[in-house]
Symmetry: C2
Subunit: 187 residues, 2 copies
């Protein structure tokens, strides 16, 4: 079926453009592992949407028939670990560097505020073609942005200022092991 | 228009049954106040939904044409205040007591875990007909549940173990003033 405005697709949310879904899946599994082992309580926030039409009898069998994606004002993941507030964003890119346009300005400001209030903020970036996953602390992200006008972060910066995370079976992406190294050294 | 299964309504999300929306609105305003005055960073999580159909060209002009409400596994609000992780649920009731079925069991378990991990967890309950808003600390909620088989919490319990919050112009529901009393007494 062709629509005047372009291609019409009907698809499940999970395969939505498939962008970042593999990483998202692995991080959700990791968070489940942390939760079940009573290590940390960290969740992905639901996708923010504006609902414009709902057919319902009760909330239980309501069907949303029209809604739109909203630009997120915060990051996707937050929670608590060793009494500390944790906040991060996870992104996937096929490029061999990280384009800053992949994160909304609001989200960077949000991470900055979180750190100023005593929270732990960071990015997890999966470089798909390089088969590398990096943790980049929020402080290093802000430092980079404040000292350059470039619109991309080169892989070297991740190599030098970030931490490589090895993909494992369980937990798949053990990002809290990096948080331990940076924030809980003495413990 | 009549549908075989019952009444069909098309409505904006904001007027969805109108249940708890006034309270939600006031808490969102309060959180905006905290954010703009650099007091705390606390947000309401988006409503969790399962998206089953999307028409899209790009994410920007995607239209969700079929989606369903999901049962939340966590509470609605979380964030950071004075370096501490904050987590709470807000509910409105017209009854002169609080029915425990208004909170999902998952949410109570979630609050309990948060506290065990060093976070601050609580409820904000608006008794609409009594024109009273109470803060009930998570510890008092758990205490009540563990010591009774009742399915409701009487107003007396809120009066005795909780804290009344006066509705103000700005911030409307200053729940962090209660958090200060309980958790930051010496400061």
């Amino acid at each position: 079926m062709k629509y005047p405005m372009g291609i019409n697709k009907e698809t499940k949310a999970i395969s939505y453009g498939n962008r970042g879904m593999a990483l998202e899946h692995d991080i959700n599994e990791t968070n489940q592992y942390y939760l079940h082992n009573d290590i940390a309580i960290i969740y992905k926030k639901p996708t923010p949407i504006t609902i414009t039409k709902v057919n319902y009898h009760s909330r239980k069998d309501a069907i949303i028939t029209e809604a739109y994606f909203k630009t997120p004002s915060t990051t996707d993941y937050n929670g608590i670990y060793k009494g500390k507030y944790i906040d991060f964003e996870a992104k996937e890119t096929k490029l061999p560097y990280f384009p800053l346009r992949n994160i909304h300005e609001h989200q960077i400001e949000h991470l900055n505020k979180i750190m100023k209030h005593g929270g732990i903020g960071f990015l997890i970036i999966h470089f798909v073609s390089l088969q590398k996953i990096y943790y980049l602390d929020g402080s290093k992200l802000i430092q980079y942005i404040e000292n350059t006008k470039k619109k991309t972060i080169p892989i070297d910066y991740f190599e030098k200022e970030g931490y490589s995370i090895k993909h494992k079976i369980n937990p798949r992406i053990d990002y809290l092991s990096i948080v331990d190294k940076i924030y809980f050294k003495g413990e």
